[in-house]
């Protein structure tokens, strides 16, 4: 009977040793939100709509993301580009693009379905909101800012410059 009780005392000291040791280790916790931990490369956070270097939107309004979405969180309404008012290099663009983040399950099927890699699940994870309506991410909120090399959409372009229905370019001129 005595030997097991002695062992227990031993265990207490072993536990206390871990506590003592960690007093001299670097802490794992960080001072969020002042400090932020970089997500893993394949982390799937909130969506962003991408632009080409010239500022044109990659999204062509095909609504395949909405079709692929298992929780019906995406709504797309397409419209036609003209050379005077061009949003994307293709024939059409998304006039309305909305994601209901309350429905989204971050599966990334939308990004998989996208033929132009326009929608990407970014590393954005700060999604708290105070009003349910803020959970509807409209096109304005989702679109990346215009890169330095590009212009704001809609752009007026030379007629005949963009004549493909789906752009073939990685980064158009």
């Amino acid at each position: 009977m005595k030997i097991p009780e002695l062992l227990k005392v031993n265990e207490i000291f072993r536990g206390l040793w871990i506590t003592f040791r960690s007093m001299f280790e670097k802490p794992v916790t960080i001072q969020y939100p002042e400090e932020k931990r970089p997500p893993k490369p394949r982390f799937k956070g909130r969506h962003a709509l991408k632009r080409y270097d010239n500022g044109l939107e990659k999204c062509i309004g095909c609504a395949l993301c909405a079709a692929a979405c298992p929780s019906d969180a995406i709504f797309v309404e397409p419209a036609e580009n003209t050379d005077e008012e061009r949003y994307s290099p293709g024939e059409r663009y998304a006039a309305t693009y909305e994601i209901n983040l309350m429905r989204c399950i971050y599966c990334g099927f939308c990004a998989d379905a996208c033929p132009t890699e326009a929608i990407v699940l970014e590393h954005i994870y700060e999604l708290a909101y105070l009003d349910r309506r803020e959970a509807f991410f409209t096109k304005e909120k989702l679109l990346d800012p215009v890169p330095d090399s590009g212009r704001e959409t809609p752009q007026a372009v030379e007629p005949g410059l963009f004549n493909r229905s789906i752009p073939e370019m990685k980064d158009p001129v």
Partner: protein, 815 residues
């Protein structure tokens, strides 16, 4: 019955009629052979080669003519070694066909790979994506990878306008020629043709304006790829996002079956019609609809629609009120002034609306009037088209008389079907004072002067002529009459003369025989059946009324009566029409897309339509308003849905007793077989799953019909120039005007003259003139057309010159 042939397709024994093409024989056995260029309604061409199959035939000994047999006694089958197109080869006794063996599969893969070499593969942005035959076939049989380099794809024109309503994408075109053949064979508007050769082959339209046809939308249904798409639906929605509701087109009396595709409109937050598609009904519209039916749908979502009841306040302005208040105003008035009620209804209401309005009006001892200038609804009920009739079945042995109407402008689908019957061998007799398009297919053309239409029918009956003999001897006889150049009185006489012609020649009370009226509106026949009748002197009847209920009619806007002041006027309308603007009470009603009910077509076929959109604003159906009024006035009326009212109609309405909700929803098997899973065979027409309707029996089917005597009317007009109202398909009514896409094709404010008359008056096309009709004068531009008879000015209806019938006119150029 034609000869039966037995053959084997994929080791399945198939019995079919002689002359059937292999592809159709396979289809009847449930075997799908892929097709692009073949369509069961069009002549085969064998252009795309996707339907290649291996065909083995029996052998006959040359000397004896006996079948060559194998050792086991079965006929010897020899395969030629070449593949053949299943769409062009007719079946033969003992044929053995392989549709899916290795050789065929390989060939199909190769053809697909070859078709895809010049296809842009822009399915994500293509309006056809999701219901495209090429997409479907590539999923089913495609290799997934092509041996042809992607960079070598040739690039051709994208989004080129092929007419005002259709967009052509040259890259996507696979040169199947379905559109070209449709325009030639079915629409008889050969305005499309191939241009250039090889990979640059292109579809062009050589009419002016381009693609000038009332049928252009059908080519987008037939197109197996996204080469032809409508401008109306361009980039509106994806196919799979939309709801589909069965409906009936409300633009003319044919009652084409349509499917309304609806989807949320983010701008308004409400459901909106994105496109109108044909729904198969081989008894009514087969798989076609005209462009008016397809593109004139924007009126339902128009901003101009009334959404709240309006009542005139003490200052004399129309102000919104609640329904309770509105019903109270109306019922108090009707209680305090129970006499002198007149209910005027237009032909766009459903049978249920007419029935409830009638019950209400009869409860108040009022008078029912139908807003129509064409008579004969009682006659079509008596000697109308026999039960089970189908113009599609008619061919040789049938005589069809079309009198006093321009069928293509007034009931386009009937024009299509009557023309097709003539092509199949039916004798077509067209009687009209001017040349109409139907005459191209007519065997006999009877030309008469305005005012002599009844005499023309009498001559057919009494005088000896070739046309008269053919009509009398024909196995089946049909008469279609319209209202061109007539007012109510003269059309009544014409209708009776037509009925007498049919009775005397024994063409009543039988299938495929009888009288058809080319009604101006979708449910004019239903209105007659429910007890509404036009009044010979409508202005007087309206003037004599103390209280007026006007539903779906605009007598002020139509110029029947200048104003309706000094009476209590209750108007049930979609829009604030000129009549509604004078009303004391305006009640907003549901459009046909927002309610359910039944329409009775000119062939007396009762068809169901369902609700496709939620109600706009506070609108109610016409029958609901009538029921509410009835309740407030203590009249015993059914209070309930359209279905409950329909059951009441079936119970109490003679002639409608043979109906039942179940019968209306029945869908017999139809040929060609439409299935969404096999789009390539019939195109994107919708399958009918909600009923083909029930054709009512005519009274003549239950007994002999007596001949009615009538007196020939005196010509109501003197010599000199005659102004004649005519109906044009793309009129300026609010239902059509609200459709932006049709606007370039709408009728202009033009009077149409013969070049001889124009020269005499010193007028040329485009000059503005003043036209005096009695004491009224109007201004319009001049248009010149060879087809107008000398001494006649054609005035299209709805362009602002109201005309009840032909009238003498004086023209004067405006300085």
């Amino acid at each position: 019955m034609s000869e039966k042939i037995t053959l084997t397709i994929d080791s399945q024994q198939v019995i079919t009629e002689k002359g059937t093409k292999v592809v159709d024989a396979a289809k009847s056995a449930g075997i799908d052979i892929s097709v692009f260029c073949y369509h069961p309604k069009l002549e085969p061409v064998g252009a795309c080669r996707i339907c290649l199959v291996e065909i083995g035939r029996t052998q006959r000994d040359r000397s004896t003519g006996e079948l060559v047999l194998e050792a086991d006694g079965t006929p010897q089958i020899s395969f030629s070694g070449n593949l053949e197109t299943a769409c062009t080869v007719p079946v033969a006794e003992g044929m053995v066909i392989h549709t899916a063996n290795e050789k065929v599969t390989k060939a199909r893969e190769d053809i697909l790979e070859f078709i895809l070499t010049s296809h842009p593969l822009d399915c994500p942005v293509c309006d056809k994506g999701g219901e495209c035959s090429l997409q479907e076939m590539t999923f089913e049989y495609g290799l997934g990878e092509s041996r042809f380099p992607l960079d070598e794809k040739i690039h051709l024109g994208k989004h080129l306008p092929l007419g005002d309503m259709i967009t052509l994408d040259q890259e996507r075109c696979i040169q199947c020629g379905r559109c070209v053949r449709f325009q030639k064979e079915i629409a008889a508007d050969p305005v499309l043709e191939f241009y250039h050769r090889g990979r640059k082959t292109d579809i062009v339209s050589y009419s002016n304006p381009p693609f000038d046809s009332y049928w252009s939308g059908n080519t987008t249904d037939l197109c197996p790829v996204g080469a032809l798409t409508t401008r109306d639906f361009r980039f509106e929605a994806r196919i799979w996002e939309m709801n589909a509701s069965p409906s009936i087109c409300s633009h003319c009396t044919v009652g084409c079956n349509i499917t309304l595709n609806t989807r949320l409109d983010p701008k308004t937050g409400r459901s909106k019609i994105q496109r109108v598609m044909p729904r198969q009904n081989e008894w009514v519209n087969e798989i076609w609809i005209c462009d008016k039916g397809r593109f004139a749908h924007n009126f339902t979502s128009s901003e101009e629609r009334l959404t709240k009841p309006l009542a005139r306040n003490p200052e004399g302005k129309l102000k919104p009120v609640t329904w309770q208040k509105a019903i109270k105003i109306a019922s108090e008035r009707l209680k305090s002034h129970p006499d002198g009620l007149v209910t005027l209804a237009g032909g766009r209401l459903a049978n249920e609306d007419f029935y409830q309005l009638r019950t209400l009006t009869e409860g108040l001892s009022g008078k029912l009037i139908l807003d129509s200038s064409l008579a004969g609804g009682d006659l079509t009920a008596r000697v109308g088209l026999g039960q089970g009739s189908n113009i599609k079945d008619l061919g040789s042995g049938t005589a069809i008389l079309v009198i006093a109407c321009d069928l293509e402008e007034e009931a386009p689908l009937w024009w299509l079907r009557v023309r097709a019957a003539a092509e199949r061998g039916a004798t077509l007799i067209v009687a009209n004072p001017r040349e109409t398009k139907l005459e191209k297919s007519a065997e006999y053309i009877l030309r008469y002067e305005y005012g002599e239409e009844t005499q023309t029918v009498l001559d057919l009956l009494e005088k000896e002529s070739e046309a008269s003999r053919v009509f009398k001897e024909a196995e089946n006889g049909i008469v279609l009459f319209g209202s061109e150049g007539m007012n109510f009185g003269s059309s009544q006489v014409l209708a009776q003369a037509c009925a007498n012609l049919l009775i005397k020649t024994n063409h009543v009370g039988k299938t495929n025989n009888g009288l058809m009226a080319v009604w101006p509106e979708v449910n004019t026949q239903g209105a007659w059946d429910m007890g509404f009748k036009p009044d010979e002197n409508l202005p007087e009847a309206l003037k004599g009324a103390e209280t007026l209920i006007i539903a779906g009619a605009d007598p002020v806007g139509d110029g029947i009566i200048p104003d309706l002041k000094g009476k209590f006027l209750l108007v049930q309308e979609l829009f604030l029409t000129e009549t509604a603007a004078q009303a004391d009470l305006v009640l907003p009603v549901l459009a046909v897309t927002e309610k359910s009910g039944t329409f009775t077509s000119g062939e007396r076929r009762v068809q169901l339509f369902e609700m496709a959109l939620p109600a706009s604003g506070e609108c109610l159906a016409d029958h609901e308003i009538a029921a509410k009024l009835g309740q407030a006035l203590g009249i015993e009326m059914i209070q309930g849905s359209a279905e409950q009212v329909l059951e009441e109609i079936i119970k109490h309405q003679p002639g409608y007793a043979s109906l039942s909700l179940a019968a209306l929803g029945e869908v017999p098997e139809q040929q060609p077989f439409v299935a969404k899973e096999v789009l390539s065979y019939t195109g994107t027409v919708f399958r009918n799953t909600s009923g083909v309707g029930v054709q009512l029996p005519s009274a003549a089917e239950n007994g002999k019909m007596p001949l009615e005597k009538f007196t020939l009317p005196q010509k109501g007009f003197g010599d000199g120039t005659l102004a004649v109202p005519v109906t044009r398909l793309y009129d300026q009514g609010i239902m059509v005007r609200t459709s932006e896409i049709l606007s370039p094709r709408l009728i202009k404010n033009q009077l149409i003259l013969n070049p001889i008359d124009a020269e005499k008056e010193g007028l040329s096309a485009g000059i503005r003139v003043e036209i005096s009709l009695g004491e009224r004068t109007y201004e319009a531009a001049v248009d010149i057309d060879q087809k107008v008879p000398v001494g006649v000015i054609l005035i299209p209806r709805s362009m602002g010159i109201p005309l009840d019938g032909p009238e003498n006119a004086v023209l004067k150029a405006v300085k």
